[in-house]
């Protein structure tokens, strides 16, 4: 056996396999979740009905913030699950929707038709969405003790979210 050829082949092949093995463990389409583990950005936003919600009043409690829009098909798919989870935790964990790139009247009509279980906040400048690193809708953040502990990109997995929220004190 020509050991030199074998060694040369290994020098080329082993690093390639290592790169592939590393890459196979990641989703190339997955968006980065840079805000997870960091302090939740502050916000002071109005609801569809004109009340003001200040994030600082929520700091000691877990809460869920869901960015959505009426024109977003995955948001419509997610809506029943989100309502069910919010209903299940309505006494313990506040949920907030944030309207993303959409009009207040559209949101009111949409929620009247499909039902609502938590207030929706208006973010006309998109500032809060950028502060949370939102790149599309739906995206949902679970905040506990002032820090983002989980970010869902796309429709939530209801069972997983129930397990996570159930574990928060």
């Amino acid at each position: 056996m020509n050991y030199k050829v074998l060694a040369a082949g290994l020098v080329v092949v082993v690093p390639m396999l290592a790169v592939f093995a590393h890459a196979f463990g990641t989703d190339p389409h997955a968006l980065p979740k840079a805000t997870v583990g960091k302090p939740a950005p502050g916000f002071v936003l109005e609801t569809l009905t004109g009340e003001t919600v200040d994030e600082r009043s929520l700091q000691d409690h877990p809460f869920v913030i869901n960015f959505w829009a009426t024109w977003c098909v995955p948001c419509a798919q997610e809506h029943p699950t989100m309502l069910a989870v919010a209903q299940q935790f309505r006494d313990r964990i506040p949920f907030y929707g944030v309207l993303y790139g959409d009009e207040k009247d559209n949101a009111i009509a949409y929620l009247q038709k499909r039902g609502q279980a938590f207030p929706t906040l208006l973010d006309p400048s998109g500032r809060t969405a950028i502060d949370y690193g939102v790149s599309g809708v739906p995206e949902t953040f679970v905040v506990d003790k002032g820090r983002i502990v989980k970010k869902y990109v796309g429709p939530i997995d209801g069972d997983e979210m129930v397990a996570l929220l159930g574990s928060l004190r």
Partner: protein, 169 residues
Amino acid sequence: MTGLLAVAIALAQYPDGAFVAEKPDQVELGVGAPPFGTPVTDEAQVVDRTMHLAHRLRCPVCQGLSVADSTSEASEGIKARVNELVRAGYTDDQITDYFVDRYGEWILLAPPAARHELLWILPWAGVVTAVGIVFWMLARAKPTAPSSPAAPTVVDDAYRRRVLEELGE
């Protein structure tokens, strides 16, 4: 770099992040550190810097487009945010760091060389290694014997005399 320095100074002053809650003007801008520069009032300068930064940031909902080249809702929001921060006196590094904090380095169209030295060094290291290996192999190769005329046969005097005698000379 200056952005990191500003954050370091802010963290040194307020290690638990309390500076966010204690400085209303910073809550307003949501950056978490004071601007390192002075507010910009020259409209042309604001537009130039906004577009310069927008060309460096990736549109979060597009395929390979910069924020400057995109008209998507998300990109328009980011441009407005950049514009706001430029006006307030934040430096280019601070603004870039603000977006990297929220979206990860993925938001930058070009990875910063200072944080990815290997990306720039490895290709050149590979070329140098390959050239070195070629030279090493050439130096180790055994030279093949050159084709040369046969060495003259040594003929002793007794043999020469006998040959001459037989030839009758």
